[in-house]
Symmetry: C2
Subunit: 365 residues, 2 copies
């Protein structure tokens, strides 16, 4: 949708109603991901795309209908084998679209959302797609404020809290609720669409543990890069699909790449020659989390070298070493869970204690 938002905002600002179709879910391999959008505006002008071409005709008519009726529709399209071939798929697939009319009356926050996206300010937009709540109703969640309503206060409160979680990860997808926001019910389906890049996870050291940490990083929504100076270990074959694998000296790679205050950095190298210059670079950069693996002895030795390198107390205090929560983790997967748990706890201020042993809210509101 990001690509066509300037055109949509032009129509919106001019007060012209338009029909907006958004991919809200897909099954098996579909040509476009959730969030892809197509719109039909004045004079039947079409922008964007929701498939490789095969369902656009039907969507065009649906978009006209929703504008005429002022009522949103939810439609699922399956690809026949022939269609699948036409859009370059070999195994079929299915996409579900929400098609809704957009006007200033129905969607008062649309202009503000478009401006945020244009200015690269992160925002998550929640839209009701199904169930006993007004279909097409939207709620926009920024880090510091909320606009709109999904129909009930309970639903607004629950979705706002969850949208903040997805916003931090730049994640997009469906969530289910009860009519008043009950988290373990399924009656109401809400599409959470985040306009923010996913945060980065940088894993240094292509050891056994790195593959497990990379997998759980991807599971949590990170865009993962693994970097190691040794070409025999830093091979894409050893890592899950979608993980970027870089052969370079860790501190040199980190010096040349971008990090921001959401980036997590996991140092799994095992050699002061790699990890001391790497941590010197990391501790002076924006990052949400900087963790380094190693025994207590490695940690003490590393801290000594880092102190000698002139890092300040405040810079050194950012280092989580030894990395992870104390779970007694043994296998690479268990260690990866302990690292992921520490990253989540640091993000939201959790203590790591069992919830059975604490009181108060289970997650921040």
């Amino acid at each position: 949708m990001r690509d066509i938002l300037p055109v949509l905002n032009g129509w919106y600002s001019a007060g012209v109603p338009f029909g907006l179709a958004t991919v809200v879910s897909t099954s098996r391999s579909a040509p476009r991901d959730p969030g892809a959008a197509m719109a039909v505006g004045p004079d039947d002008e079409v922008v964007g795309s929701v498939s490789g071409g095969c369902v656009e005709g039907a969507v065009f008519e649906l978009a006209q209908e929703v504008v005429a009726s002022d009522e949103a529709r939810l439609e699922t399209f399956g690809y026949s084998d022939e269609d699948a071939f036409a859009v370059g798929l070999t195994c079929g697939g299915e996409i579900t679209l929400l098609v809704r009319p957009v006007t200033a009356a129905l969607d008062p926050a649309f202009g503000e959302i478009a401006e945020s996206v244009a200015a690269a300010r992160p925002v998550t937009v929640a839209t009701v797609t199904d169930g006993p709540a007004p279909r097409g109703a939207t709620l926009a969640v920024w880090p510091d404020r909320v606009t709109g309503t999904l129909g009930t206060t309970g639903l607004d409160v629950a979705v706002t809290a969850d949208a903040r979680g997805e916003l931090a990860l730049g994640a997009t997808g469906l969530r289910h609720y009860g009519p008043h926001g009950e988290r373990r019910e399924d009656a109401v389906t809400v599409f959470l669409h985040s306009f923010a890049p996913p945060p980065r996870m940088l894993v240094f050291g292509a050891i056994d543990y790195a593959a497990a940490v990379a997998r759980i990083g991807a599971f949590l929504g990170y865009r993962v890069t693994v970097c190691d100076a040794r070409p025999v270990f830093a091979t894409p074959k050893r890592f899950p699909e979608g993980v970027e694998v870089v052969v370079d000296w860790p501190h040199r790679y980190l010096g040349d790449t971008d990090t921001d205050e959401r980036t997590v950095i996991c140092v799994l190298t095992h050699d002061p020659k790699f990890d001391v210059p790497l941590l010197e670079e990391a501790l002076r950069r924006p990052a949400a989390y900087i963790g380094a693996m190693g025994s207590r002895r490695t940690h003490d030795d590393r801290m000594k070298r880092l102190t000698e390198s002139g890092l300040s107390e405040a810079e050194l205090s950012r280092l989580r070493s030894p990395v992870g929560l104390d779970l007694g983790a043994r296998t690479p997967e268990e260690v990866a869970v302990s690292v992921a748990a520490e990253i989540v706890a640091l993000r939201w201020g959790g203590s790591g204690a069992p919830l059975t042993a604490t009181a108060g809210a289970i997650h921040p509101s």
Copy 2:
């Protein structure tokens, strides 16, 4: 290998040397998983299989060679497109085999391992496949004892500790070490082969969170089953491949299925009508972990009903509710990490506190 172990043990007991080929790793889709084995014994008798047929000829010769030379070999076979077609693959693949001679002198624990497997007693066998350690050397790890050596005490200690982790999960795969067991080095490759079924994770309630909990359960090595009474939610499509999805009343399904002291049970249903009878059943059964999701209010209400149902204090104390560690988790993936972290901490006795705030050993030895 389990299938051919009785034959191998016959040869071993009779003092006849044989050549044993074991799949230690595969890439892309390969016909057999790590642990599959083929052996060549007296009079060139062949048992077992390591592929769909295409590399068995070469393995036959290798097995004869290793018996003649008394030296283990590591060999990788790639499938050409033609071979791949022959074994029913469409995209090629690669398998790596360790081929080693087995005699009483080279492998004194072989008979004891075979007896354990026959008696369904869990054991993990570690074998050096590559690097500066004696190729083919084995170490067998039972819950209560260890036999054999991989060449250095440091390597034996590290591999024993890790094998206990894999043993608890019935997991099989390669791990890498330094020559003296250094965990973050890669020089020595060791194949850990567990003869134990993977533990079960039972997830009740096919809500959004269930898919995330099922994924992280599979990541940790569990054989995952999701059960819900509602056929529209309990569909395989909503869950990752490999997860069993059952439509049944939770307490009825649990009443009819097997659990053991490694089983983890996650109750994500949202209705006392489902979860009270389910937890009554769960809390009276063998299980490593029984967790139930819900707000503090749901928890209080549930505990009241469970107490009324006549469960003892000891039975009730097994319930982890609200489920998970206090990470402030928001997204389904974050909640799943908090549940996984609690499961691991309970398994090995971890506190959940950050390792930066604790002293002493990072994982149990």
